[in-house]
Symmetry: C2
Amino acid sequence: METHDFTALAATLRDRRRKLAEKVDFPVLLWSGRSIPRNFPHNTFPFRASSHFLYFAGLPLEKAAIRLEGGKMELFINDPPPGNTLWHGETPDRDRLAEQIGADAAYPRSELLNRAPGSATIGLQDATTCLMQAQMLNRPVAPSDAPMGIDLELVRAIAALRLAHDAGALAELRQAAQVSVAAHQAGMQATPQAKREAEVRAAIEGVFIAHNMQPAYGSIVTVHGEVLHNQAYHHPLQAGDLLLADAGAETPNGWASDITRTWPVSGRFSPTQRDIYEVVLAAHDACIAQMQPGVEYQEIHLLAAQIIAEGLVNLGILRGKPEDLVEMDAHALFFPHGIGHLLGLDVHDMEDLGDLAGYAEGRERSPRFGLGYLRLNRPLQAGMLVTIEPGFYQVPAILNNPEFRDKYQTVVNWERLAQFADVRGIRIEDDVLVTDTGTEVLTAALPTAYQEIEALVSQALG
Amino acid sequence: METHDFTALAATLRDRRRKLAEKVDFPVLLWSGRSIPRNFPHNTFPFRASSHFLYFAGLPLEKAAIRLEGGKMELFINDPPPGNTLWHGETPDRDRLAEQIGADAAYPRSELLNRAPGSATIGLQDATTCLMQAQMLNRPVAPSDAPMGIDLELVRAIAALRLAHDAGALAELRQAAQVSVAAHQAGMQATPQAKREAEVRAAIEGVFIAHNMQPAYGSIVTVHGEVLHNQAYHHPLQAGDLLLADAGAETPNGWASDITRTWPVSGRFSPTQRDIYEVVLAAHDACIAQMQPGVEYQEIHLLAAQIIAEGLVNLGILRGKPEDLVEMDAHALFFPHGIGHLLGLDVHDMEDLGDLAGYAEGRERSPRFGLGYLRLNRPLQAGMLVTIEPGFYQVPAILNNPEFRDKYQTVVNWERLAQFADVRGIRIEDDVLVTDTGTEVLTAALPTAYQEIEALVSQALG
């Protein structure tokens, strides 16, 4: 374990449960989960505690639960078994852990049977744990994206809290951002010597590991940015390629970062690559400039669409008025995803709750091609951390789709588009905190200007 | 996906199922499993297919199953859903996958309902998949370490096959070994500049990632080697420390390596560290020299115990005749684990089967302190790959245990032992293939001699 300032942690956690107590008048029981076997019981994936547990318990304690009521916290965890020290060394016992997180009482797990009934909970992703939750509560537990009764009330209360980050959360999120910035810099600097995508990924994730962090999600490091969720890393790097890297670190206590940069393998953007890069960057900058409390996130998304449409009109790729093009979703031919999402303990924060956190009550996903992938549809508020990640992609499955070809036949200048064949995918993504007066970009230390990107990649060339 | 020689793969797989057909006369159905959510459904751990599936299907196909009967293979997998290409690019369809692995027929998963009943299977670790197996087979499926009926017959048949590696397996295992050797070299060379364990881990795992491989198990990279399963990486590296690194790569198709080396942070072993290192290395070398088909693995373990006891007597740490010391488990005070284990698709190969693979029929774990942790108790046979990993540790939980202090009061020279305080943990581990005439060490390219280790660590010092 890292050395922690446990006094500060305990104070943060006390404040969170006090706020929860203002919102719900029933007891709440949150489970951390267990290590999941990879190919046999003793070979597990790295333990990842449930994010809701982490929010209130602070530390990734395995096979633990907490009960929150009226601002008090009880911890349920077993002491390490005999023989534990042989294999795992000295680990803190229950009472020590309770002290670290400022719990008001601590019990062995067996005590859950007595203390659980009547509590609200949120079902874990792991079916084994979720079954155990139901057994302890002596009632069914619905999946976390379809809670009922007090569980739904709990979800709404927790979502409201987790939407706005407190100082304790921001300290963790800044650490994750800082390490992710350094990782992208290392990736850029490793590129000239790298022969395959995997080598750049190694440079990026190596920085995470060196800081005792792990990837918050499966890194995308690819010369085929047009494959949006590309998680293959075997392609060779060739002069003229753009490399798109979407990778972020997660702190040991579970807080995430999420950054994308796109850089030229050779150290220099071609004129066509630069033209499109500038369009995407203009959208990125305009969105961030427009953000402040009260602004609708969907408006930010539509602003990105507008700027991208304008840029593509200026480059002769789209024809018509940008407003009209956005209205008919023509921007989505090249920017088919949302402008971003919540960021916190999950990289898509609280996505285990479906749209219950991301969408304001009463709002639903749009059926529109250009809006349906939007993961966040709420007014911005101070303390909210979101990604801003406009992009431009030439996705064969979209551009060769006969329906789209037909619908957008006249608004796309297909001959002109063909001149941009060396731009398969570009995305620029930063982590943007909404403040009382505007924004603070937590990942601002990583340049976005193409000249600075070129300089970072070329440094290693000497 | 990597470029594969699919013709060779298909031939290997055909041979494996032909051999299986010689052992069982019932149909066999093996599931691959699914990606496991980390903190929400779209954020998963890297997919790890079931090892038994991988053995017969060759590729890590998600949500797939194969049915084996009379040497024929049927593949059950769904074609990618519509929209898949937008997010994941072009991926091979069912017929193409069937061709790659040489399946005789291919069906959508729904066809399993018709083709499953009457088949033997092995339950997966993932409860969700295991439940689905039971539903498809329309009968209970026991945990994989306690199979019954034809499932037990199947386990015995597969264990017999997987115990001796064929050429296809060895090609993968050699790749894993080669990358793991390079990774340890990188770890040694990164040590002089590293301030914390995590930075050495980054150098090691960075090599795995750069080769499109992943850790076969949670790496141990620690200056506290006396904590046997230490998976913390935050300790500072200080002059005089020994760093113990136990880390191995897994190929994309799931085959593992497992290497441990121990090196001085400063680049030079102290005289006491060197003395103990030489004892451990003598045990390592003696074990490998003794291995050949027909030799009992437990004898190799006891040989290591004997050499370690001898070495400690020579150093004045133990008193008495080495045979007597081993008889009373005095070696286990310092070498409390087994000499090694099977290695293959799992790092502890087939440990999902409990001891059904590792222990010959009719054999059980010994209650003896010095034998009970032995994971393999069979005669060696050609094609078997095992680790040989003797070690010396000063584990406080053992050496301060009043029962042990009492029992071994006179055979340990505690004052002499205190002079070796700078040796907290040393282990030397290689991957050893049993051949017709003796052994081949797959990881032999990584030096074991202390002078060579010192040279590798010191290289970076210039």
